[in-house]
Symmetry: C2
DNA sequence: CCAAAAGTGTTGAAACTACACCCATGG
DNA sequence: CCATGGGTGTAGTTTCAACACTTTTGG
């Protein structure tokens, strides 16, 4: 912010917001993608995103985009990184503030029923429009470290859930299996969830106790969960 | 990036880059600040920063600013966060991509001799121009977690240093003392530094062995250093 | 010889890892 | 009664935290 006597030409960049919307579904980490109908990159897959409007912050724009795709806005959501490589958009100097959000799979599955929208396992995403693959890789990395050091799993599960469902979230995102007894001991010691008196119904096996998060909102942890 | 049939008005934001330049000096964490000579916030302290020029990325702008203040550019440096609250700059909608850098204290001390430039302990920074206090607080938080999980201390020390100097870095930034023997055991187990055959001279006490980082470049660690 | 910082090991506590069997339900 | 996933404890190992004295130099 220092003053310049003779001002050099300033960057006329336009601003967009892109949102990586994750869920864990069917044992896989998936992201919501849009099948682009217009150039550039027509016919390719891209992250949901759009231009930031006047009198709107990037965070408001990202939330608007999230809500337009999923109808939810009370989920975990944070700014990731700003991408501004000069050649990232063929239309010119367009920079993007990337965000990521975590949404329970039942909500995202119905969202993906909309036209042009798909829910894809990150393992099967080979190429995306713009630099969106790079954004996605960055988002996965951030997701892993946030999951290990916070309670954000609350944002991937329904209000009531079983310990096995919770463990699946951790195993899928961290990418390795975890011993069931050790996982339960660790989660109990973190004091972030509590048992309810309800049980899961419908399985042909012993019904699981249902748990809930003590706080459905971001809480940082002192020690990692595996 | 979805196409809009009727485009709403887009944000005409201008872009700046601000850089939090840290050092550890005299047992304190300090940041390089500029005494502003022109409005807005004339006479107040601010982070070094400036408008992003045409055909320049935010990272290039931040490095340009860093180099103009310190004459170094081979130090640890990364993007922090993008701040775009609509009222953050009284001149209008100006958003900033914030970066942070770590510079050895001898270099920053001479840099701070320039006019309008000062090196201030973060404990003594009460108020800054714009939202720069918020940016500084965010940077300190990021610095703490990066320090604990990487080798970035290399960027705060000369090429050769003593174990006590290294320990001081950790104690000052993490904000608590560390047992000397435990610190040395932990650092040794991380395998990121190695002893040289040189010794520190000049103290009226037993000379300390000088060490160097095996790699002077960012390396992520698996386990935290305290 | 004195002051000052460098350097070095051990022990008890806590946390982590690996591991196997019984339980409750639906079909 | 069988298949399926739910639920639970212990022992060995590793890591962590606390703690005090000897060494080397300069003045």
């Amino acid at each position: 912010m220092s003053a310049n006597k003779k001002l050099p030409p300033l960057s006329p960049a336009q601003l967009t917001a892109d949102v990586v919307i994750f869920t864990v579904d069917d044992g896989e980490l998936k992201a919501l993608l849009i099948n682009r109908k217009e150039p550039p990159f027509s016919g390719e897959l891209a992250l949901p995103g759009g231009f930031i409007w006047k009198d709107e912050t990037s965070s408001q724009a990202a939330l608007r985009i999230l809500k337009s795709k999923t109808n939810v806005d009370n989920v975990f959501f944070e700014q990731l990184f700003t991408f501004d490589a000069p050649d990232r958009d063929p239309r010119g100097h367009i920079i993007t503030v990337a965000y990521f959000a975590l949404v329970p799979s039942d909500i995202l599955r119905s969202a993906a029923l909309k036209e042009n929208t798909t829910l894809l396992s990150v393992k099967n995403i080979s190429k995306l429009a713009f630099d969106h693959k790079e954004i996605l890789i960055y988002a996965i990395k951030r997701l892993r470290s946030k999951l290990a050091y916070s309670n954000i799993a609350y944002s991937l599960l329904p209000r009531l859930f079983t310990l096995t469902q919770l463990q699946d979230i951790y195993e899928v995102i961290l990418g390795h299996t975890i011993d069931k007894r050790n996982f339960r001991k660790k989660i109990a010691s973190l004091d972030i969830i509590e048992a309810t008196n309800q049980k899961q119904t419908g399985g042909r096996h012993r019904p699981a106790l249902l748990y809930k998060f003590k706080k459905r909102g971001f809480t940082e942890l002192e020690e990692p969960v595996f």
